[in-house]
Symmetry: C2
Subunit: 205 residues, 2 copies
């Protein structure tokens, strides 16, 4: 019923399987847009411009900050990452939900600027499973793995800043969880105050 | 994931078709209990003790108020109506959701005492449809009908005190809406703080 699109942030510690869930949610939910972030980090093999990121120079990024073109940005491991304002706001205004795949810090900034945004935290089924998934990639050293797990645990402490939480034990169940949250959020009274205006009108009839 | 049961209040102007929706929700959702109110009004034909209401004398009702046995009560058209505390709290504590079918004023009192309770407002498809449904009963005079519509409209103004709102255009869709809201509410971070404690524990491992 809600006429404005939702800003939806889904965060999850690396290794939780968020990518797969997001892909399936986008297939199931029409009109669910995906905000592509801007970054100064180098493009990795297999990544595509405007699909994975918009790749820009540090100067361009700083210019975007100065022009207030980013709704949030963070510096992480020496690189900048940010969310372009125009795309997100255009989606919302035209009633399309827009999905932001960002770090916990960035998520906090979004909540401050858009208190109506919906924040979902997806958890790995267990710490054991998280370790297994991170190790399984096989591309990282023992030390890298330890560092990633440490980081995942520290991110979990941001959980209380989110609105919803669930364990990703089954991909289809997780997709259903995200869709359930979206449907429910659209019935929130705060998102449907236009109804109240109509009722006020009826009183006089 | 949430371990405590939810207190769910569903309100709707008379004539919205709430009764049918509630019956179907109870059939679909296991462990959904229904709180039976206490009243001092006389039992009507077809009503059953402990199913429709617990029928008590005014003295008994006042005694219940004094003993703090009611979580809310109102006086309405010369009769008292109240919600017994024990049943509601027993349900929640044992993880069963409990459903309260109460007037807008009583609902407000519940929200104050149980800020975590979930409040749903069901609307008739249109004012025209509401008039049609109220008139269709055929048991009321023209004046009664006008009075009921006036009352329905004034109840609608309480809408902003509720959490969720939807139009009852199709019974099955409305049942699905209620169930969606319940599933989504159970994923609220505030209802799953036990997870946070577990994470704090993991940090030290």
């Amino acid at each position: 019923m809600s006429e404005k699109g939702l800003i939806v942030v889904i965060s999850a510690p690396s290794g939780t399987g968020k990518g797969t869930v997001i892909k399936k949610v986008r297939k199931r939910h029409d009109g669910f847009e995906f905000s592509v972030s801007v970054t100064t980090r180098a493009r990795r093999e297999g990544e595509e411009e405007a699909v994975d990121y918009f790749y820009v120079s540090e100067d361009s990024f700083k210019q975007m900050i100065d022009n207030d073109e980013l709704i949030e940005w963070v510096r992480y491991c020496g690189n900048y990452y940010g969310t372009p304002r125009k795309y997100v706001e255009d989606c919302c205004d035209s009633g399309r939900d827009v999905f932001l795949d960002i770090e916990v810090e960035g998520a906090l900034n979004i909540k401050k600027k858009y208190p109506d945004s919906v924040h979902i935290f997806m958890l790995p089924p267990s710490l054991w499973e998280l370790k297994r998934r991170i190790s399984k990639r096989g591309t990282e050293t023992e030390q890298d793995i330890e560092r990633r797990i440490e980081k995942a645990l520290s991110e979990l402490l941001y959980l209380k800043e989110y609105d919803y939480v669930f364990f990703n034990t089954d991909v289809d169940e997780s997709v259903e969880n995200v869709l359930t949250i979206l449907r429910s959020e659209k019935m929130k009274v705060g998102r449907n105050l236009n109804i109240l205006n109509k009722i006020e009108g009826l009183k006089g009839e």
